[in-house]
Amino acid sequence: MIAALRRHGRLWLRTASMSMQAQLTYRLGSLGFLIGKAIRMGFFFAFVAAVFDHVQTVAGYSLLETALFFLTFNIVDMTAQIFFRGVYNARRIVNEGDFDFYLIQPVSPLLRMVCSNVDALDVITLLPVLVMTGVVLHRLPPLGWERGLAYGALTANAVALIFAIHVAVAALTVRTQELENAIWIYRDVMFMGRFPVDVYATPVRWALTFGIPIAVMTTFPAKAFLGLLSPAWTAYAFAVTGVALAAALAFWRSSVARYTSSSS
């Protein structure tokens, strides 16, 4: 078990290093993507800050609290982009026959499919987000280490939940060889996580909590830090992730078992 983990760890480091080198080779392209990502974040910050020049609170949250929601969204989203970027190539990997090679290698095809393409640009943009989150957490009134722990645990839980979604999309691609845009549904709906789910009308809020649990991924960690998440909702967040992971992995195994190769 430990030997397998080490082997996969080495493999991940090697493939991550290769994809980072590939990105660094394309300097102009990478610079454009990097500046684009910085612009997106900068403009949203400017927007939120400018709105708070005119109001005291939004949905009952102060500027610092709203910033915490927005930063938490970015941490979770960027972490997923860094580690699970491979899914965006899933259809090409299946259709061009690369998946056949993954299956005969002595490593997990799931790891190869989902995690072997690391987006170095998101590593660069994540660093200032982490620094800003530290500043915001520091500026909020002292709330105790338990809340910090809950924030960390729920943020990790959110990344695990996103991993489950990516596994499900990869499984869907292996099974159907289609649905190239399935991951974009997740990306698009994730936009809604930039704001705390409290801004949405009740039916939308429920859909974002129980349907596509964007709330669990983006709102719950910040709410836990602010002391606004009950133990029952905390337990729900972990339960949802547990169920989603189990279901996604079962779906993946079933899809791989039915796979009959789609390319020569």
């Binding site: 392209g29 454009g32 684009g36 612009i39 400017a46 399935a182 549904i185 990306r187 949405y200």
Partner: protein
């Protein structure tokens, strides 16, 4: 002209045939408009106005963003980059057609479907809207809006075309295009009215063509611009359109001179 109408007709059928892609595209747009709508709805709360916009005006601005995003920002930039980089562009160059006209016909087909969908989506939100929406009664406002939006769409077409033709000189033009599209959307007011931004930043943006893409047409529809002022701004927009077209056509001609195709 007939061949461009045929291209339009085929592209229209193709767009409608790819229903899952269309649905996912629209879902993404709807998620954005629903998020912004909910955000402004909560922000306005019991206030009668915010930044000079009454509640119905602000909500209408958000809804009209959905239509303008579909009409203005639906483009073929990424396809053009792919066609130039892969050499597929050669097959168009030997045909008896003007590539700009052909691209515009395909672009219009996409816009037709997306704008129709956008109206359907905002219809749903209007039905659910609390506080109503602003409907201009002056036919001149509708006419000026249509003219401003049509020119905005053409400005975007030529600007995106110009940036995409970078692919004639570098295989890394995807990065600049990504950066350009993101910056454009924020600077155009496609996420929030530019009135939110600080005065200095607003003045800076006013000296660029970007606010003419969404912010200006939306304000015309909301009758926030007097008719003489609207005419002056429309003239400025026409100037930007002429400049964008000249740059795009010039870049295309120079690019073609440096383009070399090999193989069959």
């Amino acid at each position: 002209m007939r061949k461009y109408l045929t291209a339009y007709s085929i592209a229209l059928q193709e767009t409608l045939q790819r229903r899952s892609t269309l649905l996912m595209d629209r879902l993404g747009g709807f998620a954005i408009v629903l998020s912004l709508y909910s955000f402004w709805n909560v922000l306005l709360g019991d206030k009668t106005s915010f930044l000079g916009y009454t509640r119905p005006e602000m909500l209408t601005y958000v809804l009209i963003i959905n239509v303008l995003r579909s009409f203005v920002f639906t483009g073929r930039g990424w396809l053009l980059v792919g066609e130039i980089s892969s050499g597929r562009i050669s097959s168009y160059l030997v045909r008896p057609l003007n590539y700009h006209g052909y691209a515009l016909a395909l672009d219009l087909a996409q816009k037709t479907v997306h704008v129709a969908s956008a109206f359907l989506e905002i219809g749903v939100l209007v039905l659910a809207a609390r506080g109503g929406v602003f409907v201009p009664r002056d036919p001149a406002a509708w006419a000026l809006f249509a003219l401003a939006a049509a020119m905005a769409s053409l400005i975007f077409f030529f600007m995106e075309f110009a940036v995409s033709t970078l692919a004639f000189w570098t295989s890394e033009s995807g990065g600049p295009l990504f950066c350009f599209e993101l910056f454009l959307q924020f600077a155009a007011g496609a996420f929030f009215p530019l009135d939110v931004l600080p005065e200095s930043l607003r003045r800076l943006l006013a000296a660029t063509p970007f606010p003419y893409m969404v912010y200006f047409p939306a304000r015309v529809l909301l009758q926030k611009v007097s008719p003489p002022e609207a005419m002056r701004l429309l003239a400025a927009e026409a100037g930007w359109l002429a400049l964008a077209a000249a740059v795009a056509i010039g870049a295309w001609s120079r690019g073609l001179r440096s383009y070399a195709a090999e193989g069959g």
